[in-house]
Point group: C2
Chain length 210, copies 2
Amino acid sequence: MAKIKTAEKILMGATRLFAQHGYDGAIMDDLAEQCGVNKASIYYHHKDKITLYEHCLEALFTPIVDAIIVAVEQESGAQDKLAMHINTFAKESAAKPYFAAILMREMASGGTNLPVLARTQMQRILRLLKQVLAQGVDEKVFKKTEPLIVHFMIVGTINLFVATIPLRNALAMEEGCQSLKVSNVKPVGKQLAKTIIRSLLTDVTHPMPP
Amino acid sequence: MAKIKTAEKILMGATRLFAQHGYDGAIMDDLAEQCGVNKASIYYHHKDKITLYEHCLEALFTPIVDAIIVAVEQESGAQDKLAMHINTFAKESAAKPYFAAILMREMASGGTNLPVLARTQMQRILRLLKQVLAQGVDEKVFKKTEPLIVHFMIVGTINLFVATIPLRNALAMEEGCQSLKVSNVKPVGKQLAKTIIRSLLTDVTHPMPP
DNA sequence: AAAAAATGTAACTAATTAGTTAACTTTGTG
DNA sequence: CACAAAGTTAACTAATTAGTTACATTTTTT
């Protein structure tokens, strides 16, 4: 069995810490302790804190965006592409919940000091969405809309859902309110896709998602 | 002309700083300097950093939630109520942009260490939404849905939109892409309301928003 | 086996930062 | 005006934290 390399342990631990406490709130001594790794080892593998953060973002963002692009490419119709876009974003976010937390923090900062790489990745998603929506307009299935708003609906909704899973579980415990305890993202993605597509369709006579 | 009281200056400056840099990233010396106030004055008016933060949240969250509740109460039909809910949330968020940033950060932290007061305020919004949706179901205008998902769509979309205004303006400058420079929230709220209501309506023969 | 790369230890530094102190100034009130 | 309470100030303390250093030990590569 291949043992987890120190560099990998550090990257994973750092991603979790940055997601939970933000860049400033993440403390390097804590990171060392939580990964069972010496602090000097962190600095052996990563130049400094900000570089480590950038490495985390790269390792986190790139494969998610890649997965979405690949998945969307497999569909042909604009409606199917859009549904796939939304559902894959939901699936990937759920599989890597630190993505949502980190992205939300970065957006909260205005995103202006977001490392170039992470910003590029977010722009790739937006560009893809624009293409899909434009295709839909060409095919006369979708109405013309502002892609940015659709993008915000997707990212905002899914991120918020994923990031608040721990909060909602805590609330459900306190209040005995089970409806809060929705932690499966799949149906959320589905309903979101349905909602967005429904509002985009030019004509209600078009085949609608059930 | 009544001069702005120090306590007020501190609260406003602190809210901005917490929104921009998060709790850990906000530095008390910076706060003092930016408000043109001595650091000791901050501690004279507010016990410590965490208490100051709680004061900021209280001053920020409560009036927003109050405004939404009041606005929704003025409508009678479920559809109008929901539209008002969304549009007022959008309007209030836009008017107090630090709200979006702070809320996003708190949600990113899982919300588990969100001060009780702020959490209560968010629950008030959710409770209101639940009532409106239930009323819609009673009136046979709305389909039955998970209120939490609708809530996330509203809060997630609007928050993301408001929080990224500075980022989008920066991007628009860089790329000359004007479509990014949408900084008026009103149409976003309107489209969001339309989208959500459209997906909730039991029947397409119901009067739909244009 | 020798060399090189990776990891661990533990104490250190320099800078930052939350919070304090004690003296000082302004303001409200009889 | 007098004088107490409220508010403000510069300088200080104590703790925290990013990053370092010098050296020992283990693992991997050649």
